[in-house]
Amino acid sequence: MVKGAESCVPLSEVATSNTHGEDSPYFAGWKAYDEDPYDAASNPAGVIQMGLAENQVSFDLLEKYLDQHPGASGWGCGISGFRENALFQDYHGLQTFRQEMATFMEQIREGRAKFDPERIVLTAGATAANELLTFILADPGDCLLIPTPYYPGFDRDLRWRTGVRIIPVHCSSSNGFQVTLQALEDAYVKAEGMKIRVRGLLLTNPSNPLGTAIARHVLEEVLDFVTQKDIHLISDEIYSGSVFSSDEFVSVAEIVEARGYEDCDRVHIVYSLSKDLGLPGFRVGAIYSYNDRVVTAARRMSSFTLVSSQTQRMLASMLADRGFTENYLKTNRERLKNRRDFITEGLKNAGIECLPGNAGLFCWMNLAPLLEEPTREGELRLWSLIVHEAKLNISPGSSCHCSEAGWFRVCFANMSQQTLEVALRRIKDFMKNMKAKQEK
C-alpha cells in the first residue's frame, strides 16, 4: 500500500462506522479459522469451520448434471444468443430465468403456492435482496422488528447503509423459541416508547439459527399482527428447500393464497440459490412481492445488484430440467436430514442437547449447563475456549441476539462426513474435560 504523508481527507459515517460488525465475536471466530484452517492431510490440528452455513453435501449432483449436459447448460456461453446475452443488462432479468425461479420456488413448496415470474426481482444474492427491501420499506431512523435469535448478518445488511434500526422480538426456550403474539406486542410497544416508527417485521422461515420451520398457526398470528399494525412482512425463505420433510414447510405464500390475496400488499418474500442449490458463489437472490409498487421500485433499484446474464442463462437451463431439480431437491433433503441426525446423535453422546429441528444447515445447541454464569460474558468465555482449545468455530447465541445465554449455532453441511466426525470427537473430548474441571 502506498504510504507517505497521511492525508486527512475525511470519509463518511458509513465508511468509518463499524456496523459491518467485523469486530464482533461472530467474525473473530472466522479470523481464528482463517489463520489456522483445518485440513485433513496438511493441518489436522487446525480450526474446523462450523460457523459457515454453506451447503456442500450435494455438489456431486450438480457436477453430474453439468457433465451430462455440457451443451445445454453451455455455462451461458453457447454461440446462439451470446450477443444478446453479453449485452443484456435489463433490470427485469432474463424472462426465462425468472420463469424457472418461479417454478423452482413452486416445486419446493410442492405446488402449495403459485409464483408469478413478473413479481420476481433478481438481485446479486439474498444479502442484497434484504437490504433492497429495507431501503424500499423503511426510512432512516425507522425500524424493523426481528424475532431473536436471528442471523447475525442482519445487523449489518439491514442497518449499515440504510440507517434503519432493528428492534428484537424476544423469544424464549420455554416454547422452543417460537414467536408469540405477546413478544410481538412487547417489541412494538418498546419501539413506540422510543418514538421509533415500526415499518415491518422480518421473519426467517425456516429459521436461522434455530433450524426449524415456523408452524402454520404462528404464521397466521404473525400475518394478523402485521395487518393490524398495518406494517410490512418480509419472509426470508432462503432455506425453504432445506426442510427435511417438504410437507413440514409452510410458506407465507400459502397463507396469502388461502386468504384470497386479501391485504397482501404488505407481504414480501426473499429467496436465493445459495443455500438450497449450494451456489453462494453465483450470487443469485430474488425478491418476490405481492405489492406492485414494491416490485417496480425493487426492479429499478436492482441496477445496483444485477445477476450476471451468463449466470442467469446457465441456471435457467439447469432449472428447466425438471427431472434434475426433482431429484436434486429430494436427494439434498435426505442428505441434510442424515447429517442432522448424525450430528445430533454425536452431540447427544457428548452430553449436549439440541433444539429439535427439521430444517436448515445447522443445529441450535444448548451449552448453558457449562456456563460459569448465565450471562453474555460467561457465554463468550466458553465460546473462546471452544475456539482456542477444541479448535472449532461455532457461533455464540449472543451474536444472534438470543436473550438466553449458552446457546450456540453449529453448522454441519459445509464439510465432509469425515471432518464432521473429527469435529464430534473434539466436542466429546472437550465436554469430558469441562466436566472434569467442573467436578473439581
Binding site: D67, F88, R293, M301, S308
Partner: protein
C-alpha cells in the same frame, strides 16, 4: 423584484397597502397549493392486485373472521406504505430515460426483421466488436470455465462456494493488467488497490456512500452522464451540483467555474465532499488534458476533498488525442493520492455489460477497506469471474481486440458525424466513447428546455429514434443531444439520418 416594490410602497404609505397585503396572502396560498400538489401521495395504498391478473387460479375466500375482528383504526404511524426513498424511485416515470427505453423495448429496430422499429441511440452499448469476443468464447469457453487446474476435470467446488465479496485476487490481477493494456502502457495498476463490483453502477454508488454523508454534495462538471442522478442520489442522499461547461470551448472543465460553484454551495450551508468527472467524457466524448487534470488535483487538494474520475471509456478512444488517466498524472507528479479514486468496468471497453463487472480503484486504504466490505451487496458471479480471468489473461487476444475495436469505433464515429453534418448538425469534438454530442439547437423552438423536449419527443414518437436530450445531462445550453453510434452497422446510418431529417426538415 415585483414583490418588493409594492411592499416598499406599503412601507412608504403610498396606496400600496392593498397590494402590500394582497401579495403576501396570494403567495401564501400559492405556497399551500404547491405543497399540497407535491406532497408524496398520502392516499391509501393501492388495492392488492390479484397477482397481476395473470394465470393464477381464483381461490375461494376462506372467511377471515379473526383478522376482521382485529382490524382497528390504522396505527398512528401510517399505513404499510413505501419509504420516501422507495416512493421517489417508483414515481420516476416521466424521466425521458425510462420513457425512451420502454418505447424501444417493445419495438426495437432490426434491419431485416423490423426496419420500422425504434432506433435505440440512447443506451451506450458497443455492438461493433462483439463478434471478436464471440469467436474467442466459442474456442475457449470450456477450458476457461470447467477445468480444474490439476485434474482437468469438471470442478464446481471452486466456483460454487462463497468467494471474497470484492472479487477474487486472480480476477483483480487480470483486471489490473487489462486496465494497463487499455491505457496503452502509460501506467500500471496494482490489484490490491481494486474492489470489484457487479458493474460500474454500484461502484460509483459505493464511493458515494464512502466519501460523503447524506446532505453533502459532489461538484459535477456538466453536461454529465444522466445515470449519476440515479446512481449517486437515490440511496446515499448525496446531492449532485452541476458545474456548467460551455460549448464555446468544447465543454472543457474550468477550474474557475468549479471554484465559483464550490463557494456557492458553501453559502447554502452544504458541504462539498468531492469533484466527479468522466474521462473520456460522457456525453461529450472529449478527453481531459494533462493540464486540467493537474488543475483538478490542485483544486481538490486545496479544498481537502476527493476526486472521482470515471474512466470507463478509457479503452474506447479513436481520435488523435492521447488519453491520459489521472493515475498517470499521479505517478508523474507529487500529488496526494489518497483523495483520488477511479471508476472503471468491463461494460464498455470489453462490451460485456451483461456480465456485470465494475471497478473501484483507490489509493486510500480506508476507502478500500470500507468498499470491500460494502461489495457484499453487489458481488460478481463466480462463473463469470472465472470466464473473465481466462479471457483477460489471453493478452494477445486482448490487445488485438482493443486495436480492432478502436478502428471500428473511429470509422463508425466518422460516418455518423459526417451523416449528421449533411443534415446541418454539428457535433462537439470528441476522441472517445460511444456518443456524438450533437448540436440541434437550430431545430428547436423555443430556444429552451421546453423546445428541446419537444424535439426529443418528435424524434422518439414520430421518427422513432431514441436519443438523450441535453437537459437530462444537465446541459445549460438547450438543443444538444447525445446519440450513441455503436449499436449501428454501416448500413443503418443512412436510415438513422433519413429519420432524423424527417423531423429537422419540418422544423
Amino acid at each position: 423584484m415585483r414583490v418588493i416594490v409594492p411592499l416598499q410602497a406599503v412601507v412608504q404609505g403610498r396606496g400600496g397597502l392593498v397590494l402590500g397585503s394582497l401579495i403576501p396572502c396570494a403567495l401564501f396560498y400559492f405556497l399551500q397549493f404547491y405543497l399540497r400538489r407535491n406532497r408524496p401521495s398520502s392516499s391509501s395504498p393501492p388495492p392488492p392486485s390479484s397477482a397481476s391478473g395473470s394465470n393464477l387460479p381464483e381461490l375461494a375466500s376462506i372467511p377471515r373472521s379473526l383478522s376482521r375482528g382485529l382490524l382497528s383504526p390504522r396505527g398512528s404511524f401510517g399505513p404499510a406504505r413505501l419509504s420516501s426513498r422507495g416512493t421517489a424511485v417508483v414515481r420516476d416515470d416521466d424521466n425521458p430515460y425510462y420513457v425512451g427505453l420502454k418505447r424501444c423495448a417493445d419495438d426495437p429496430y432490426n434491419r431485416s426483421t423490423n426496419p420500422q422499429g425504434f432506433l435505440l441511440l440512447g443506451l451506450a452499448e458497443n455492438r461493433l466488436s462483439l463478434d471478436i469476443i464471440q469467436d474467442w468464447l466459442v474456442k475457449n469457453w470450456k477450458e476457461s470455465l470447467l477445468l480444474d487446474d490439476e485434474e482437468e476435470e469438471l470442478s464446481i467446488q471452486g466456483l460454487a462456494t462463497y468467494q471474497p465479496y470484492d472479487g477474487s485476487m486472480d480476477l483483480k490481477t487480470a483486471v489490473a493488467e487489462f486496465m494497463g493494456q487499455v491505457m496503452q502502457g502509460s501506467v500500471s495498476f496494482n490489484p490490491s488497490h481494486i474492489v470489484l463490483t457487479a458493474g460500474a453502477t454500484p461502484a460509483v454508488e459505493t464511493l458515494g456512500f464512502c466519501l460523503a454523508d447524506p446532505g453533502d454534495a459532489f461538484l459535477v462538471p456538466s453536461p454529465y452522464y444522466p445515470g449519476w442522478d440515479r446512481d449517486i442520489k437515490w440511496r446515499t442522499g448525496v446531492e449532485l451540483i452541476p458545474v456548467p461547461c460551455r460549448s464555446t470551448d468544447n465543454f472543457s472543465i474550468s477550474i474557475a467555474a468549479l471554484e465559483l460553484a464550490y463557494n456557492q454551495v458553501k453559502k447554502r450551508g452544504m458541504k462539498v465532499r468531492a469533484v466527479l468527472v468522466s474521462n473520456p467524457s460522457n456525453p461529450v466524448g472529449s478527453l481531459i488534458d494533462r493540464e486540467t487534470l493537474c488543475g483538478l488535483l490542485d483544486f481538490v487538494m486545496e479544498k481537502n476533498i476527493h476526486l472521482i474520475s470515471d474512466e470507463i471509456f478509457a479503452g474506447s478512444t479513436y481520435g488523435s488525442d492521447k488519453f491520459v488517466s489521472v493515475a498517470e498524472v499521479l505517478d508523474a507528479e507529487s500529488f496526494d493520492k489518497s483523495r483520488v479514486h477511479i471508476i472503471y468496468g468491463l461494460s464498455k471497453d470489453l462490451a460485456v455489460p451483461g456480465f456485470r463487472v465494475g471497478v473501484i480503484y483507490s489509493y486510500n486504504e480506508n476507502v478500500l477497506a470500507a468498499a470491500s466490505k460494502l461489495a457484499r451487496f453487489s458481488s460478481i458471479s463466480a462463473p463469470t469471474q472465472r470466464l473473465l480471468i481466462s479471457m483477460l489473461s489471453d493478452r494477445k487476444f486482448i490487445s488485438e481486440y482493443l486495436a480492432v475495436n478502436r478502428v471500428r469505433l473511429h470509422d463508425m464515429h466518422a460516418l455518423f458525424v459526417d451523416g449528421l453534418k449533411q443534415l446541418g448538425i454539428k457535433c462537439a469534438s470528441s476522441s472517445g466513447g460511444f456518443y456524438c454530442w450533437a448540436d440541434m439547437s437550430m431545430f428547436i423552438r423555443p430556444y429552451s428546455e421546453k423546445g428541446e423536449l419537444k424535439l426529443w419527443d418528435n424524434l422518439l414518437n414520430v421518427a422513432k429514434v431514441n436519443v438523450t436530450p441535453g437537459s437530462s445531462c444537465h446541459c445549460i445550453e438547450p438543443g444538444w443531444f447525445r446519440c450513441c453510434f455503436t449499436t449501428l452497422t454501416e448500413k443503418d446510418v443512412p436510415t438513422v439520418m433519413e429519420r432524423i431529417q424527417k423531423i429537422t426538415k419540418s422544423n
